[in-house]
Amino acid sequence: MTNLLQLLIDALLMGGLYALMSVGLSLGFGVVRIINFAHGEFVMLGAYGAYWALTLLHVDPLLALPFLIVLGYLGGWLLFRGVVAWVLKAPALNQILLTFGIALVLQHIAVVLWTGDVRSAMPEYALSTTIIGDVFVVHGRLIAFLVAGTLIAALTTWLRYSETGRAVRAVAQNHDAAILMGINPGRIYALAFAMSTALGIASGAIVSFLINITPFMGFSILLKAVAIVILGGLGSIAGTVISAFILAIAETMVAYYVPEGAGWTEGVAFAVIVGILLVRPRGIIGSALAT
């Protein structure tokens, strides 16, 4: 049953991408306790960044990636200090509306600067494939999977073994105890939010040669990331990565086996959100943190 094998490979490669897209959101929520509704727009900006690097400067998206990550980090830091920091104590309503507003602004800055036309980056590895037996692997997807894997591995190692990484986990687990250790929570919030933005930009850069780039691509990405983060347990990085693969596999299976399945795939993410929230509001896989 070659098609099944092919489906699993596609799902696996797509799962890596979904993981990178949602890990940033999960980190942001784990530490700063805010679901950033503008996360999809950071992915969009990353995609445009890689696209313009390739078309104007003839720099391959993978070479542009480090610069985009740094830019994303700085942008995230400024956005946090300038705007997001003021609503940390505000009720959930204000936080949701604020990030919603930021999403609207970023979306339409993109429309004003680059119009609504469809674009996609086309480095030569985007479409070339290798055939193994009668299963084909698209180079672009494999590369995206590998880059996503390395970035997530780097993130988890940094969180586990570095001083600041431990400090971030400490703030996420117990804000007051972290202060007693000499950790400045304000700085850690800004750092975590900036990293979450940088991760969004990075996933945008590697998505630029896989799917279409438009100013309005952010919203559907956000909803998928929210479904994954909720399935994986809010704030748990490991849970998020596992549930990213689960969602990718579920979507691919529905697309293939259910009649007119391609139409229903988007419904899978929403069914997951509603289903999980009713069964176990704190998410299933990762041990969720007390919000």
């Binding site: 098609n3 092919q6 489906l7 596609d10 797509m14 339409h108 429309v111 119009t115 609504g116 036309d117 469809v118 674009r119 996609s120 086309m122 985007a126 479409l127 070339s128 494939t129 055939i131 084909f136 698209v138 672009g140 896989l210 799917i211 279409n212 438009t214 309005f216 559907s220 979507e251 691919t252 697309a255 293939y256 007119e260 399945g261 391609a262 139409g263 795939t265 988007e266």
Partner: protein, 416 residues
């Protein structure tokens, strides 16, 4: 706030209202008001921008040749952005018809906007002449029915498939196995019925029909199902964004299907620029294709110049190739202005009868309006089948049907 008495409020409101009523009435005689309900932001911003450029150029060239007025009236173009949002489209149509009291409506471009615009036009007591240079979905044709004030200068869905299937039949004979991929939106749903009907009548064997979701990131599962059906022809009914991604994923999945059939997307610059080599051997239809070296119209050589001259002028003005909806909007505006000039009136009956009687030789062929399956006034229903074939380092639209305009033959896509 508390101290304003209710009576003051009332007196102020009435004064405002009277002022408004007087001003609109006075303007009616000396103007011809053209309303543009166009998408200037949102998903269909590309179509809206094209229509706007087409209308602007037409008015400019008219003023250049005939002077600032038409039949003694100033030309006033009123444009409102529908934001590619159907509820905004309803309010924009209401505003143009009832408040701006336009004489002629031109637009919108996208099928969804067109579908949403119909009810507010039909419900208006004396709805104005409405020329639509875009919108292919027959949902609109069914809603508009035999209305004498509706003019369509763009092919309907079935006119696409009538010509595509005829071209395929002439090139490949009958009995070939066909797989169809269609989108779950208005576009796909509208086209699938006619595609099925014309392909069956044309003697083709439909082996697979697959639905895809508009804006989905991954079509591979669908392509695997198509691959197991082993079709010789892949017939796709999707709009620009999905068409680009689908073309890329078909290429990387190495489906090796000899004939790749699309509808309009192969003509769009976004399709060509985004795909590069991947666009090779995709076929499509269009009512307008560049450098067909059409001749100028005898009666109005300045308003409808020769193809090459008009295209050159367009390139210098906008530094880009002209696209079909720009040409459609240009011609629609010219026809409208000529109708006002011939009938020397702006009321809808005179303009409608004058429009229906006209016949000019334009870049998109003869402009005569005739009945389509349901609607009364349809122009430029004839489409041309073409295939993107590699010529030197670029890709050209090689026409293979109808025979009298063919410049080449349909070729199978190279195996990967």
């Amino acid at each position: 706030m508390g101290n304003i008495r209710a009576s003051d409020l009332r007196r102020g409101a009435i004064g405002l209202v009277m002022g408004l009523i007087l001003s609109t009435a006075a303007h009616a005689q000396q103007e011809v008001r053209i309303g543009l309900p166009v998408e200037l932001s949102g998903r269909f911003v590309a179509f809206g921008a094209q229509i706007k450029r087409g209308v602007e150029t037409a008015v400019e060239i008219w003023k250049h040749t005939r002077g600032d007025k038409v039949a003694g009236r100033d030309i006033v173009v009123i444009e409102h952005d529908t934001q590619s949002n159907n509820s905004t489209t309803v309010s924009v149509m209401n505003q143009l018809i009832n408040s701006d009291k336009v004489d002629i409506l031109i637009g919108p471009g996208g099928s969804d906007s067109g579908a949403a615009a119909v009810p507010s036009w039909k419900q208006a007591a004396t709805h104005p002449v409405w020329i639509v240079p875009g919108v292919s979905t027959t949902v609109v044709e069914k809603q508009v029915g035999k209305d004498p004030y509706f003019f369509h200068t763009f092919p309907w869905t079935y006119q696409y498939h009538e010509t595509i299937v005829a071209g395929l039949k002439q090139a490949l004979g009958t009995g070939k196995k066909v797989a169809i991929i269609y989108s779950d939106g208005a576009y796909g749903r509208a086209h699938i019925e006619y595609a099925r009907q014309y392909l069956k009548d044309g003697g083709f064997q439909i082996v697979d029909e697959e639905l895809i979701r508009e804006g989905a990131p991954d079509f591979l599962p669908t392509l695997l199902k198509v691959r197991s059906a082993h079709p010789e022809i892949l017939y796709t009914l999707v709009q620009t964004n999905d068409a680009i991604l689908l073309a890329k994923q078909i290429y990387s999945a190495k489906l090796n299907i000899p004939y790749l059939i699309g509808t309009f997307q192969a003509t769009l610059p976004e399709f060509k620029n985004s795909l590069g080599a991947v666009q090779n051997c995709w076929t499509g239809v269009n009512s307008y294709i560049m450098n067909l070296h059409t001749k100028a119209d005898q009666a109005e050589p300045k308003l409808f110049p020769a193809g090459d001259e008009w295209e050159a002028a367009w390139r210098t003005k906008y530094h880009k190739e002209p696209e079909y909806m720009e040409v459609g909007a240009y011609i629609s505006t010219m026809l409208a202005l000529l109708a006002v000039e011939h009938s020397n009136a702006v009321d809808r009956d005179h303009v409608a009868t004058a429009l229906a009687a006209q016949s000019y030789q334009t870049i998109m062929g003869n402009s005569r309006f005739g009945p389509s399956e349901i609607a009364l006034h349809q122009a430029f229903g004839k489409v041309i089948d073409f295939q993107l074939q590699k010529q030197g380092d670029g890709y050209d639209n090689v026409i293979f049907y109808p025979p009298e305009r063919a410049g080449g033959k349909l070729v199978a896509c190279p195996a990967q």
